[in-house]
Symmetry: C2
Subunit: 430 residues, 2 copies
């Protein structure tokens, strides 16, 4: 099938997916766990083929590690699905109910978005997770994984799709795209695809965002800041700097720039340098930083760089206001931290920093769907509409307005003898 | 100032707008009412100039009517602002609160989106309304009105902007764009503008949507359907058809296609024809419709047309399922109605129709922010993310995650001796 045909079938399937009962969806998820377990050998064999090819192609060790999908990883993926079964069905919740007039009631009811296009690099577990999330939330899904995992993805998509259809899901609820040109075609199918979630490198996400008019949920950059305020506890400030920078450097919520209020720069910078360097971190500092500690000079480019490595930039700022201005200028609106003992200054920071996650006295690394307790993570968004920061299942949801009347006509509510609306909020489920 | 400079200033202003107290915002709204009243003569004079030019340019009578901004219209606009003052401040509401661990609390707090770009044709009252809505919701705004209203818009923007700044709003919170080329420039400023709301003709909205990567809130088409089910009350079905089609034909929530279940086509079509024709409606019908009543033949194009006029297309369908399939194929996802006495069939319709507003036994014309009781209407959206259907102030809002800790580090929550998260939902405001 060509992409247009796959997408058309997926769009039709989305309508049926949106109307499935919780029972059927949870049964399908259980059936998928069973099918993954039954087909474990086939999946591992396919993955071995991918791994062999990847080794021939000289892929990096970290990439090989992410590509590997063995028995423990399959079990982990199945555990993930099992925990999803326990979550409440997000579809069909009554978000509001209003009486417009006697016998005329308006409900706002949560509904799936429709067709979700998900594009991810390597990690086959992402395929399993995303397929399950879309199913639970009543969405249909078009998936494209990394080409290095193509054999694994094919068998996974086929096993998961079939297990769903066998339980009563519509044919085509999960479509697999296989090539980069498939993706480019999908990016143009705005009539069929309602939302795109890209998971991968910054360049990859940026490419997707720049090449489609379909809404994209995600983030291209994670340039996170930690600001050490004039009124910070110095030990806490250093500890949080180390955790935010070093706890795991290759991720979007790792801190890339530390801003230090000039009032305590002299005292704190030498300690900060010692602790960061003990972890192997290389420091680029502004001129004022360089006056206090021996570091490489930072350039304009450093403030714009997501190192994703054991590297940090440090800037001395004259005020809280200047710290906020720096973040609003160079940040990516992902996660930004203030360390201070003063509540008013923390509130100023949160109110004026244009960021998805504004944290006070805790590590930037907490910015994560699982740590937030969202149950399942769809991604982390730096969008300013729909969903922001770590996104759980609710990021795959929208709503429908449902009005029930008894022959009510607008003509009776207009003109001279217009009936008034009651607009009474009701505590009532659809 | 060039557009880039106006947008930069507006983006900076947005940060300050987002942090304003309810008190300041409501004072600014009151001051705007006062300023509009004080400057009424100047505004009316400017509007007279626009009207004179428009008459010279031979503008249509309906356009001239919408362009006119006289004393009653100014008073009405002021009343609109006054009612906005009474609404609850949408900024800073705690949407959720979660304890992650002792002393580590996560809040989800409602926040403004940032810079809203609003583009509208003629009607100067739209400028007043949108500026007030953005102010109330803590957003900054870039406005572009119709060129035929340029003198009126200039004085309005200047009076409103100044009244705001005089009350403590940041300089540049309201920016006025003046030419079509200004708009084209704004559409490219995705780094500065967070959301675009176009108000105008379908072609105009379509143009905006096709020419920007900035999210657009609105609808290009309003191809609304009314489906008369096999189990419909015939009198109610005819009454609702007439109200949905004729109550006001030039608007997006007017019905354009009536679908009739074949089981009652023979009985209902003659009555429907009589009642619609009595209102001056011209009917295009499918072949089966033509077999029963004398009408012009509908073509494929009719099912895709938003007439916005005293014209309707009628199609006989063999089943509820086929009615839904027709709507999902040709509809614009705006408003679709089922008339039936059967609850199960109504639920099937709502569950399977991919539309913002799914109505049962009431007129499609109810699809409207004021009728819905939203307090203020930002627009009607056929988007599948963020906001759908009639959109009130909440369409101008997003949220920020705010976490408060006491030096909490992620390293303590990972590895062998990882502390567990409590993830306890709290009933607590930020």
């Amino acid at each position: 099938m060509d992409i247009q045909a796959i997408a058309t079938q997926c769009k039709d399937a989305a309508i049926l997916m949106s109307a499935l009962s919780t029972d059927i969806k949870d049964k399908a998820l259980k059936n998928i766990i069973k099918a993954l377990e039954t087909n474990m050998d086939l999946i591992i064999d396919a993955n071995k083929n991918d791994l062999e090819q990847a080794r021939k192609d000289n892929l990096d060790a970290p990439l090989l590690k992410r590509l590997k999908f063995d028995q423990p990883k399959i079990s982990e993926a199945c555990d993930g699905i099992a925990s999803l079964i326990k979550l409440e069905d997000p579809v069909g919740k009554t978000l509001s109910a209003t009486e417009l007039d006697k016998g005329l009631t308006l409900f706002k009811v949560s509904r799936p978005i429709g067709v979700i296009g998900v594009i991810f690099e390597s990690r086959p577990d992402a395929l399993v997770q995303i397929a399950a999330l879309c199913l639970k939330s009543g969405n249909a899904v078009l998936l494209k994984g990394g080409s290095e995992a193509s054999a694994t993805n094919q068998i996974l998509a086929s096993v998961i799709s079939k297990a769903g259809v066998d339980t009563g899901l519509p044919e085509g609820w999960l479509g697999l795209l296989e090539t980069r040109s498939d993706v480019d075609q999908m990016l143009k199918l705005e009539k069929y695809v309602d939302l795109i979630i890209p998971r991968g490198s910054n360049e990859f996400v940026r490419y997707i965002m720049d090449n489609t008019v379909i809404p994209v949920l995600g983030h291209a950059d994670g340039i996170c800041h930690l600001y050490i305020d004039r009124l910070a506890d110095p030990k806490m400030a250093v500890d949080l700097s180390v955790d935010s920078k070093c706890q795991y450097v290759a991720v979007c919520n790792a801190t890339e720039t530390i801003l230090v209020h000039e009032a305590l720069a002299k005292d704190i910078l030498p300690v900060l340098k010692k602790e960061l360097e003990a972890k192997g971190v290389k420091i680029y500092g502004c001129e004022k930083t360089g006056d206090i500690i021996d570091v490489e000079a930072a350039t304009e480019k450093d403030w714009q760089t997501e190192y994703l490595d054991l590297i940090v930039s440090i800037k001395v700022v004259p005020s809280l206001k200047e710290a906020v201005a720096h973040i609003n200028r160079y940040g990516s609106g992902h996660t930004d931290v203030i360390v201070t003992s003063d509540k008013k200054r923390a509130l100023y920071f949160m109110d004026h920093t244009d960021t998805a996650d504004a944290f006070w006295n805790c590590s930037s690394r907490f910015s994560d769907g699982f740590r937030f307790g969202l149950g399942a993570e769809v991604g982390i968004s730096t969008n300013k509409i729909h969903a922001r920061g770590p996104v759980g299942l609710e990021g795959l949801m929208i709503y429908q307005w449902r009005m029930i009347g008894d022959g009510h006509m607008v003509k009776d509510y207009t003109g001279e003898a217009a009936k008034p609306f009651t607009h009474k909020s009701l505590n009532k489920d659809f």
